[in-house]
């Protein structure tokens, strides 16, 4: 008996997108309202589903639905969520309505406080229908239990984002959009070879993920296929040294699209590592642990140092994300329950924190017309509310205790520190080195906050209006979530932990709770 929850969750935004796209010319206001309504319906459905999750039937993948799609290739329309996928679906569903509201005027032609036009008027309904298509694909990519279906969403979701950056972004938008697309496409194509290879070598004539777990036994084959998947995910995540597309794309994208790009799309990379790289190719994952952790630590430190040197707010936030993704990757490959749960939690928290920071920065940029930090100063006096939200979002970015990112970063570091997965001490060193990033984070965030909010009020900043109701409605829920999950992460962890345990069973790592008592691996 297939559950209809996830197919409906996918269908609603697609239908919404079609409706919005077919609206007559000039019905911009209606397009916005329909998009907002659709995204709120999706959010409501997702939340109802999430609350039913603990009591839902199914071993690992709940709300599972499997239909034949292309029998010749063994491809199914297979969807279902475990705890990890569920929290990421919820993250997507929460962020989309917020982004819709935040982008309300983005396609109308953005004017600064003194009336200069930053971006010209563009097609409103195209923007919002792309947004809804993207939402369907974001939900689909996390919910897919068929590897081929996952690949289809993984690649297809590039297209709406490509058009959102390319058509609605800043001055360098077409360069950034092409760079984004080509990087991702290249990784995706390598993954395609690995996907086919997995199918051929496993010889099971199906792409269903549960049936393919443990299907590849030969260690050499595992390594090749692992590499195909991992490179694609590393580009997506992005990990140093294939990260260079992200600062360009995030800086040029409109603030709303940047939130989804960094907050959700990039999570597909880390999610893919946890779900596919680890469980399908456990031996290869263990063999490659140290090189990958080294890359992750480089990302953590490198991203943080480069962030300090940025003069453009959006680029700065993008580089901080590279540092944070380093933490997530490190947590995933630390092969301990605490670190992996922390990494998963980090994916969610980073989505909220970076989302809030991007949006607050976007509101600043919409007022001043410039992303350069040097063009600001003293914004706190003229727009105290905006400054307050910006500060809280920034503090979440540096993982201040009491805010949600702290919990996850702490879990990743302690989990990695204590992990015995890779012999004695190697991961401990990685955890210690990565802790340096905490100091660097304080530098890049606080220095930016200081230059933007404090000091003498710059002349153009004096014309700033504080947040209007729409903008408060955009930022308030995110900040509430950041603070809420900062003090009480248990609901999320309760959902995530069983899924992570299952992952570790499939990877054949002893539960670290036992490992720490000296059982070893």
């Amino acid at each position: 008996m297939s559950s209809l929850w996830l197919p409906i969750l996918l269908a609603v935004p697609v239908l919404g997108a079609v409706v919005v796209a077919l609206l007559p010319k000039g019905a911009d206001q209606v397009a916005k309202q329909v998009t907002l309504a659709v995204s709120l319906v999706v959010l409501a459905l997702t939340l109802v589903m999430a609350f039913q999750f603990p009591s839902a039937k199914g071993d690992r993948f709940k709300f599972a639905a499997v239909y034949d799609w292309i029998p010749s290739f063994g491809v199914h329309f297979g969807v279902g969520v475990d705890g990890i996928a569920l929290v990421l679906v919820v993250l997507s569903a929460v962020l989309v309505p917020i982004v819709v509201l935040a982008s309300w005027h983005d396609a109308d032609g953005v004017r600064t406080a003194d009336g200069t036009l930053i971006t010209p008027k563009r097609s409103v309904k195209t923007y919002f229908s792309l947004l809804l298509v993207l939402e369907a694909m974001m939900i689909g990519v996390f919910a897919a239990t068929d590897i081929f279906l996952f690949y289809v969403f993984f690649e297809a979701m590039l297209i709406p984002m490509y058009f959102m950056i390319g058509s609605y972004g800043g001055a360098q938008r077409s360069y950034a959009a092409v760079k984004f697309l080509l990087y991702s496409l290249f990784g995706g194509l390598l993954m395609l070879v690995a996907v086919i290879g997995l199918y051929v070598v496993a010889g099971k004539s199906t792409f269903m993920f549960p049936e393919l777990v443990g299907a590849i036994q030969d260690p050499a084959t595992q390594k090749w296929l692992f590499a195909g998947f991992f490179i694609a995910f590393a580009i997506k995540a992005p990990l140093w040294p294939v990260h260079t597309w992200l600062p360009d794309a995030a800086a040029q994208a409109p603030a709303g699209a940047a939130v989804l790009l960094v907050g959700v799309l990039d999570k597909v990379g880390t999610f893919g590592m946890l779900r596919f790289c680890l469980e399908l190719f456990p031996d290869a994952a263990k063999a490659f642990t140290m090189p990958i952790v080294v890359l992750a630590v480089i990302s953590i430190i490198y991203g943080a140092i480069v962030a300090i040197g940025q003069s453009d707010m959006k680029r700065l936030i993008a580089y901080t994300s590279i540092s944070h993704f380093g933490f997530i990757v490190m947590g995933v490959f630390a092969m301990s329950q605490v670190a992996q749960s922390g990494a998963t939690l980090y994916m969610v928290n980073h989505g909220f924190a970076t989302g809030a920071l991007f949006l607050a920065a976007g509101f600043l940029i919409a007022r001043r017309g410039s992303p350069h930090i040097a063009d600001y100063g003293g914004a706190q006096k003229v727009a105290p509310l905006l400054a307050g939200f910006f500060l809280v979002a920034g503090l979440a970015g540096l993982s201040l205790p009491g805010l949600s990112s702290f919990v996850s970063e702490f879990m990743v570091m302690t989990g990695t520190y204590a992990s015995k997965a890779h012999g004695s001490g190697a991961l401990t060193v990685a955890a210690v080195v990565s802790a340096l990033a905490v100091i660097l984070a304080a530098v890049y965030i606080l220095w930016m906050v200081q230059r933007v909010l404090n000091g003498p009020t710059a002349e153009p900043v004096k014309a700033f209006k504080d947040l209007n109701v729409r903008e408060i409605v955009v930022l308030a829920p995110l900040v509430a979530l950041i603070i809420g999950f900062g003090f009480f992460p248990k609901p999320l962890l309760d959902v995530i932990n069983p899924a992570v345990n299952q992952t570790l069973v499939n990877v054949k790592v002893d539960n670290p709770a036992i490992a720490e008592k000296g059982a070893g691996q």
């Binding site: 010749s72 058509s167 077409s174």
Partner: protein
Amino acid sequence: MNPIMQAPTIEYGTLAPMLLVFGAAVLGVLVEAFAPRYLRKVMQVPLTLVSLGGAFALVLVQVIMRGAPTEAVAMGAVAVDGPSLFIWGVILVLSFVCVLLVNDEGHFVASAAAVPGSADEEEAEAAGGAHTEIYPLLLFAVGGMMLFPAAHDLLTMFVGLEVMSLPLYLMCGLARRRRLLSQESSMKYFLLGAFSSAFFLYGTAMLYGYAGTVSLPGINKALAGGALLDPLLLIGFAMLGVGLLFKIGAAPFQAWKPDVYQGAPTPITALMASGTLVAAMGAVLRVFWVGLGNLDWNWRPVMWAVAALTMIVGAVLAITQTDIKRMLAYSSIAHAGFLLIGVMATFDKSQQNAGSLSAILFYLLVYSFTTVGAFAIVTMVRDPGGEAGHLSRWAGLGKRSPLLAGVFAFFLLAFAGIPLTSGFFGKYAVFAAALASGSESGDSLGGWMTGLVVLGVVASAVAAFFYVRVIVLMFFSEPAADGPSIAEPSMGTVAVIAVAALVTVGVGIFPQPMLDVAHQAAANLFIR
């Protein structure tokens, strides 16, 4: 030897689709000869469309009522097997669609014999002259396209090749605008094509010298017991290969493609890029599989290099192109390389054969439909002097005609193989077949097939760059002040684009029915 000449037996029923097309072509010539000028077009268009539609119906009848024959017909000259019937069906639909494009006003010269820019030309144009011969010529070309991949011996195949090519040489020179470019393309295509035909024929003679027969299964039989390093065989096989690879535009025999595609009238380019490629690919499959199957240790490594080179040359040179038709030509070269991966996957000795063959048939179908759609759109974007070929002229098209640019972008994404387009499944099917064949024990290339697929993937990524560049131009650039105009499309053009888009979307989302058709066509393989 039997001293008495026997009358040949011809299975008219089985050959009916091809005979109908040729018969209609001959009728068309008679119309040209006897009908008054003002009636010719009125008579030619329905004649052409009805014969193509009828031939397609006959193919369907053959498939549904009788199934594919298991023996070669016409005294072993023509093999109407599953793959042949599939290819016939595809070619007939494609040529039907191309006739709708040909039928549009303004693509063809009023008087081909007039010197470009001369008073004669102006006069002919003012008098409303038109070359309605184009319709019978096109039918002959289509008939040749049907015979070429179905031929069961090398001589019949040569006849098919020539019947297909000669009308195409002629039609390339008939563009109304940019006459000199068109005539140049016609001349180049003719000379190079003549060379390649000569190679083909010479190779045929050499193989006859080796095997004592021109029949494909006969050659294969001779290979099974004969010396495999006989110079006659090696020279013959190499020359035959050159002739065939020229027709699909594989590197290093690809040089004609960009010039010819650019100069030819766009409807004819569409026909060449789809129909000719499908036919030639069918012929390549048949020769290398049925005729040279026992020589696979010799030709597969060569084919490996050709496929790799073709993909790289096509993808890399396309980046530097500034003309939309030249870019599509190089894209077609790159796709020929992907198809050659499929050809190599098709030859191995186990069950996979049928799977690989169906993959390549499927690829041919999806690629050719998208191609026709893309060229149909090219005909609509016009400057005062003809089609707006230069890429810079396409800047900002997405702002001025979003629908047209959107559909074109969609076709480009299909060429690039993005999921949820038909092109993705085509590419997937071929790559999967290649990896599967390489992983079988006893495959003569083994791990090299994986290498080729990785190379194919890298070439796809490079190719994606130039497809995406056009999208960037159309959507993310500001329109030029004196940009090209969008021709008011005729019903025919709209129908062509609609069919192409429907196939691209439909197969992109639900590929299973088409896969089933391709699979059935490939189930019994070629007649050997």
